[in-house]
Symmetry: none
Subunit: 209 residues, 4 copies
């Protein structure tokens, strides 16, 4: 189901939602390029023409999925950002959101992870992707200001390390090269936070950077 992070109302746009959710399933199973518009329609149980009633093209369907998903992720990230918790707990919260999304809607995650790298244009168009990265960067900066994190590390690069770690693990689950299960998810969360926050801890001698 789409929008598992923040529930959306289905009022008045039942079929649109139906198509979107079918698209997630089909993209996840066959991949965006490999599937046909007819596959989505069939999965949704509607005529393929209806898809063009709600979306301008097959591309727009993917874009919508991205936009909704990332806007949900961004909203959640912003809520965490506004907390007064230590940076470590806040990064932990973000890791939870992303990794647990896998449990809630593996298909959605599969699509977002698999197709994100496909189109630079898509990423540019979905500005929330950047905003979510920026939120993590700000959390790290605040951690540095608060003395929780060492200051000699580029916070931008650090945010890429953090996101990259999460994405690779999701990819591992998507491709089946990494064991999945509730326990594994919890462990992954802890491991990522442990490594990244451990690596950012200030009590180590300054790097030679």
């Amino acid at each position: 189901m789409l929008s598992t992070l923040t529930e959306r109302s289905n009022g008045g746009e039942d079929k649109r939602r139906l198509i979107l959710e079918a698209a997630v399933r089909v993209f996840a199973q066959k991949g965006f390029h490999t599937c046909r518009v007819g596959d989505i329609a069939e999965e949704a149980g509607v005529a393929h023409g209806l898809l063009y009633h709600y979306f301008r093209s097959k591309d727009e369907v993917l874009e919508c999925i991205f936009k909704e998903t990332w806007s949900d992720i961004l909203a959640a990230a912003r809520m965490i950002e506004e907390t007064d918790e230590p940076a470590r707990d806040r990064l932990s919260g973000i890791a939870k959101i992303l990794l647990r999304a896998w449990r809630r809607d593996p298909d959605l995650v599969r699509v977002v992870v698999r197709e994100v790298a496909r189109s630079p244009e898509l990423q540019r168009r979905v500005s929330d992707v950047h905003a979510a990265f920026a939120a993590v960067e700000r959390i790290i900066v605040r951690g540095q200001e608060d003395g929780e994190f060492r200051r000699d590390v580029d916070p931008r690069l650090a945010s890429f390390v953090f996101y990259g770690a999460l994405e690779e693990i999701l990819t591992g689950w998507v491709l089946g090269t990494l064991d999945e299960g509730d326990e594994e998810i919890a462990r992954a969360e802890q491991t990522v936070v442990e490594i990244v926050c451990g690596g950012l801890a200030p009590d180590r001698q300054a790097a030679e950077v």
Copy 2:
């Protein structure tokens, strides 16, 4: 240029190489799905029919690029693995290989990064991808055995964190969301190693894992 890590002989397969290198450029610029076989041929300066003399299909061209690239990376990773250096230095060596490849052949990296997540089938076929991951995992395991790294962290997950960090940074360069340049490359290397090895350092209290 393909095979910048290990030079390959051109003897007797000039045109094949020409096509492969053209494909890297074209895939990088337009993406695998978006480009046509004719684009590759045009870029290579040959008739498109010739491509089918050297490759069974368009897919096989991409597969070849992957195989060669990863076999080079794998070879380099194995050489590093056999070293007696500390784990940190060995991970640093692997980071160097991957990130510096960007400087040597950005198009190649662009293709590998962009299309790697595309097809699970491709990844399965290119078994070297797994082997390279396994090499990193073994380095981490040996680091744990040698007391250089803490033992309460799953080495498999840690290898994903490491690879994911590198891949995300490459993606940032590919998509232009991260500054690039010689200095940035050096800094990225150090930052990734610093964070990951710092996070794996044993002198911290055990994680609650």
Copy 3:
């Protein structure tokens, strides 16, 4: 506006008329085949479904426009035919009707001129087109009988010359290859009548036909 030659009552069929007039404008601007039913509805300010309340199909809309227009033209032509004026004046009257229609409703003329040749079927269905041609032919025959026109010219062919001349001039205005304006319209009328009736004048030696 449709029916500018003979005003029609709007009683009880407001919307039908609205759609018909919108269709004229849209067909004129985009052409029959190029426009969509939705364009007509939008232009008329109604839902496209309503069109099917009044017409069986898009084709029928065009057919209606043709029928109404030609029935108006035919009615006017018949009124002129019943006059006792010389043939020349009667042809002049018909030229006036057709060419001045352009001033009154260029869109309508544009549609009729542009689409008339499209479908032989359409022309067959709109029998008034033939009837109007026949009226001109009868005027010429009567002119020959009255000694006003030479008798060695096929009246059927002559009617085609007359109609063709008018149609080509209308086409010139439609396509913008001929200057338009009140003065031009008056001149066109006179020129066509002058040439055709001059050419039909009996005081010349018989053609070798």
Copy 4:
């Protein structure tokens, strides 16, 4: 067969010509909009994909037919224009060309006549249409200068009368509303010339224009 006015070589572009000629037949029979690309290919005995090897689109095929036909007509018109014959004979020559084309290639004439009014854009793109009109206009102007034609008639309008007459007769043949046959063609030629040149004869009192 296309290019019946001036024979064209088939050297090296056999299939292109084949497709073009098939298109003429199919457009003539079904109309441009009504026929499918596959119909053309089938008629030509080739795969429909080949059409796109030689033409960018279905539209381009029609445009090509127009261009070639009108360039032939124009060439013939120019040859006649350069003659030293009286204006009447030169107009007669042009009438011959256009009307006899019907006998030689009725399908081609059918297409050109039927679709010419369809697209203003097409007419604008095929500049030879205008050039051919201009040639007739120049013949009339020279006739006026030489005293063969009256001077108080707009030569431009007169050229429209002449062309319109020919076009209407062709349309009559195309639509079957006018008898056809060798004799009819000869008579049509003479009638048009007789009427138009008769109407342009100078020995009549000046028009009230």
